[in-house]
């Protein structure tokens, strides 16, 4: 009964968010996010049909669809990066390097694991593989959020909502999949409720965030002149400014 309530509410919220996005033409701004939502919506319907009429195919279809959702979820992350940092080429460059580092680390981990076993991916089951991909997503998410905070990148309600919702979902997935791998069948029954419930919470966040209109944040016109500033000159000037303060701090020990 509870599972059915969560499932129907989830479907309803997905339809609401999609319809609102279509009505307000927000699909153009967040095409990957709405594609992801549409995919999850269609996946839910398909799985329901399979569960009802072809149950022998359900398990295989379920894990395949989940894996596909993780891959499409990476596009949501890319969209957050694209939308938030598009007007800021400097921060976008930092983000590209940071994300490149995250991907390189993930590949290094895969290579190390490959040397210990026959599998090229460091997981024995689909759940473990999904958990590992979610961890990479979480680290990428932390990198993007850190840059947004450090560089004080303006963010509107929609961006905040999408990022918070997806971040919450990734975190919950990691915790649940880690416990599933660790505790095994004893956690399976609880996971049956926890997983759809956490996604329902995420859908609530997205519905609230994407229901009302949000002003798109554009860089201030007064700052446009700084776009052309040479970064080396800027670094040199900041170094000089910091040097003065550093010398002040050093001054306390000179006498």
């Amino acid at each position: 009964m509870l599972t059915q309530f969560i499932w129907y509410t989830g479907i309803l919220l997905e339809v609401l968010v999609l319809a609102r996005g279509l009505q307000m033409k927000w699909l153009r701004r967040f095409p990957c996010f709405y594609s992801y939502l549409l995919f999850v919506f269609l996946k839910s319907l398909l799985l329901w049909v399979l569960f009802r009429w072809i149950p022998r195919l359900y398990a295989q279809a379920y894990w395949t669809a989940r894996f596909a959702a993780v891959i499409i979820g990476c596009l949501v992350l890319f969209e957050i990066y694209r939308v938030a940092l598009r007007p800021y080429p400097g921060t976008a460059r930092m983000a590209r390097n940071l994300l490149g580092g995250v991907i390189a680390l993930a590949f290094a981990k895969v290579l190390v694991n490959h040397s210990y076993g026959p599998l090229w991916w460091p997981a024995k089951t689909t759940a473990e593989l999904e958990r590992n991909l979610r961890i990479v997503q979480a680290v990428a998410l932390v990198a993007i959020v850190a840059l947004i905070i450090i560089y004080a990148i303006p963010r509107d309600r929609h961006l905040k909502g999408i990022l918070a919702g997806y971040g919450f979902y990734v975190s919950c997935s990691i915790m649940q999949l880690a416990l599933l791998a660790h505790l095994g069948d004893s956690f399976n029954r609880l996971w049956w409720y926890l997983e759809p419930f956490s996604y329902l919470v995420v859908l609530c966040i997205w519905t609230v965030a994407l229901w009302s209109h949000s002003e798109e944040t554009n860089p201030s016109a007064g700052l446009a002149h700084t776009v052309m500033e040479d970064h080396n000159a800027l670094v040199e000037r900041t170094n000089r400014e910091l040097e003065n303060i550093r010398m002040g701090l050093q001054g306390m020990v000179r006498r």
């Binding site: 400097g90 004080a152 700052l223 900041t238 170094n239 910091l242 303060i245 050093q250 001054g251 306390m252």
Partner: protein, 184 residues
């Protein structure tokens, strides 16, 4: 089990970052604070040169030796209280300057099309380092007193100098007498 702890630590980090991200204000006031701050104006006008004697005075042992020679408990207490207040004010001011410079730099560098990632990363590290240094010194001044700071500050100074020499080559900018003073 240790793998599980690491996973939960990662999740905790994501939650903390998201909470901070959501709580951080994105109001017009927040953005305006990134315009050239007033503290930088006073810095640019050369006021910093006049204020440079302050750290020498605040943390020097000369006054402290003089007060000790007077052998007056009242004067002793008064000196420590006032010295602590001045040191705290000075450190807070320095931290404000670092924050202002950081804000000013980040505001410009985020638009930079030819951003040098390594130089930027080094600067970010230096910003956090200097702010951390200021906080540590503040804590020490509040717990102990400004006069006991010297030996600890020497350690920070050596680390700063090392960092600067390795990463930024700041010694090129330092006046000759400062370098000579450090060597002695």
């Amino acid at each position: 089990m240790s793998g599980l702890v690491w996973l939960f630590a990662t999740v905790f980090l994501v939650f903390v970052m998201l909470l901070y991200f959501l709580r951080e204000k994105d109001s017009p006031e927040f953005m305006q604070s990134y315009d050239v701050p007033q503290v930088l104006e006073s810095y640019k006008s050369g006021e910093i040169r006049d204020l440079r004697f302050l750290p020498y005075s605040i943390f020097s042992e000369r006054d402290w030796n003089f007060v000790q020679n007077e052998q007056s408990p009242f004067l002793h207490r008064l000196f420590l209280e006032e010295r602590r207040a001045v040191a705290i004010h000075w450190l807070k001011e320095r931290a404000a300057w670092v924050r202002a410079i950081r804000a000013n730099h980040l505001q410009r560098s985020r638009y930079s099309k030819n951003l040098n990632v390594f130089a930027e990363a080094r600067l970010l590290f230096l910003f956090f380092y200097l702010l951390g240094l200021c906080r540590c010194l503040l804590l020490i001044v509040q717990i102990a007193n400004a006069n006991t700071l010297r030996s600890i500050a020497l350690h920070f100074e050596a680390m700063t100098q090392k960092l600067v020499q390795i990463h930024l080559g700041f010694s090129n900018y330092a006046p000759t007498e400062e370098k000579a003073g450090f060597r002695s």
